[in-house]
């Protein structure tokens, strides 16, 4: 599965990425990380605030640095 981190590359985006990777590792899911920094792409995906997290192109979380425990259910659903 493809985990996408949306944001201009501020510190919060990196924290979100770490949380998402930790969640995926704990669940033993094979994943790839994609960082989306282009504003057009971020807007196209429907995120109004960053950082945001999308899984396989579908927006799951916006505007917060979620913990791995919050991200796990999202990964399981996808």
């Amino acid at each position: 599965m493809k985990i996408q981190i949306l944001g201009s590359g501020c510190a919060k985006c990196n924290q979100l990425r770490e949380s998402a990777e930790a969640a995926a590792r704990e669940l033993g899911i094979s994943y790839e990380i994609e960082k989306i920094t282009d504003f057009r792409e971020i807007a196209r995906m429907g995120a109004l605030v960053t950082p945001a997290l999308a899984i396989d192109g579908k927006l799951k979380l916006v505007g917060k640095v979620a913990t791995p425990d919050e991200i796990k259910p999202l990964l399981r659903q996808s």
């Binding site: 944001g7 201009s8 501020c10 919060k12 504003f39 057009r40 971020i42 807007a43 196209r44 995906m45 429907g46 995120a47 109004l48 605030v49 960053t50 927006l59 916006v62 505007g63 917060k64 640095v65």
Partner: protein
């Protein structure tokens, strides 16, 4: 009348007299009393304000705000946008996606600007600090002037019809729609607590450091020095405070305690308000980020309107008080 902050006064006095064995009227004693009074008080207010705002914010997710503001007319829309901006502080890194999303969602340019001005300016850190350091009247005044400035600034930009100076790609991006999810109360409170921890975790070192610097000024910097440079006799104090405020972005927590100490020695409060607004609303990183969507003339108009407004607030407040 005993104030709600009486326990904090007692604690500060106790620290100075019992723990350090000092007389509060000495320089060191006065500095330490300032420090041990302000740090717990400001941190408490920060926790309270961030929790309330963080919880209320769950009703005002950007999707919901866009829906409320979409298609709103000039003036009424600006008032609504500025009002909502009080409860929805955001990180400047979100300014661009928000700007695109709002415009594409049918929110008029001037209304979008009212929101973009109010949201970062009236934020929980600035309000908690102003409340803790200067009292609730000054905090409310700041919110009032901030909202007024956001309404006026957005209305001016709206009336000038500057849509032509928005980068053309903004109008062409297809924008996806996100969902507004229903949240139970417990989740809202949990979200409020989460954002409180995030904010407090980030700003507490600045608050402690700023108050330490303020405490030093309080005890050791002579008052006439402050009055000479920043007092009512210097007609340029307000614009200078605004210029100084611009590069101090995001450090409102560190610099406000210093201004409190300066205010205690004669710097007028209007100058303090202007300075705080410049720190929160005229940030260099946000301007650079906004350049992605605003062509230089519009960015210039935005900066000019904000600067003029913030300076006017300072002079106005100094004149009426």
């Amino acid at each position: 009348m005993p104030s709600v902050f009486a326990p904090y006064e007692w604690f500060a006095r106790w620290c100075v007299e019992r723990v350090f064995g000092l007389d509060p009227s000495t320089r060191l004693g006065a500095s330490l009393e300032f420090f041990f009074y302000d740090v717990p008080k400001v941190l408490t207010l920060l926790l309270v304000v961030s929790f309330v705002v963080g919880t209320l914010q769950t009703w005002l997710q950007p999707e919901a705000v866009r829906r409320i503001l979409g298609g709103k007319r000039l003036f009424f829309g600006n008032v609504a946008a500025a009002g909502i901006g009080i409860f929805t502080p955001f990180c400047s890194c979100s300014a661009v996606p928000l700007f695109i999303g709002f415009l594409k969602g049918g929110v008029p340019l001037g209304v979008t600007f009212s929101y973009l001005i109010a949201a970062p300016m009236v934020n929980e850190v600035a309000v908690a600090l102003l409340w803790g350091l200067f009292g609730w009247k000054i905090a409310l005044t700041y919110i009032g002037f901030g909202v007024a400035l956001a309404i006026a600034g957005g209305a001016v930009i709206g009336m000038l019809k500057l849509e032509k100076w928005v980068e053309p790609f903004v109008w062409e991006v297809p924008v996806g729609a996100g969902d507004v999810e229903a949240m139970p109360w417990r989740a809202r409170l949990a979200e409020g607590w989460r954002s409180t921890r995030e904010i407090a975790g980030k700003v507490w070192p600045y608050i402690v450091g700023g108050i330490a610097a303020g405490a030093f000024i309080h005890g050791y910097v002579p008052g006439d020095l402050v009055v000479r440079w920043a007092g009512p006799g210097n007609p340029f104090a307000v614009p200078v405070a605004v210029i100084l405020g611009v590069p101090l972005y995001a450090n409102v927590a560190g610099v406000l305690p210093i201004t409190e100490a300066l205010a205690g020695k004669g710097m007028p409060l209007g100058t303090v308000l202007s300075f705080t607004m410049a720190v929160t609303a005229l940030s260099a990183p946000e301007m650079i980020i906004l350049r992605n969507v605003l062509r230089p003339p519009l960015l210039g108009v935005f900066i000019a309107v904000m600067t003029a407004g913030i300076i006017a607030v300072g002079y106005l407040f100094n004149a009426i008080l």
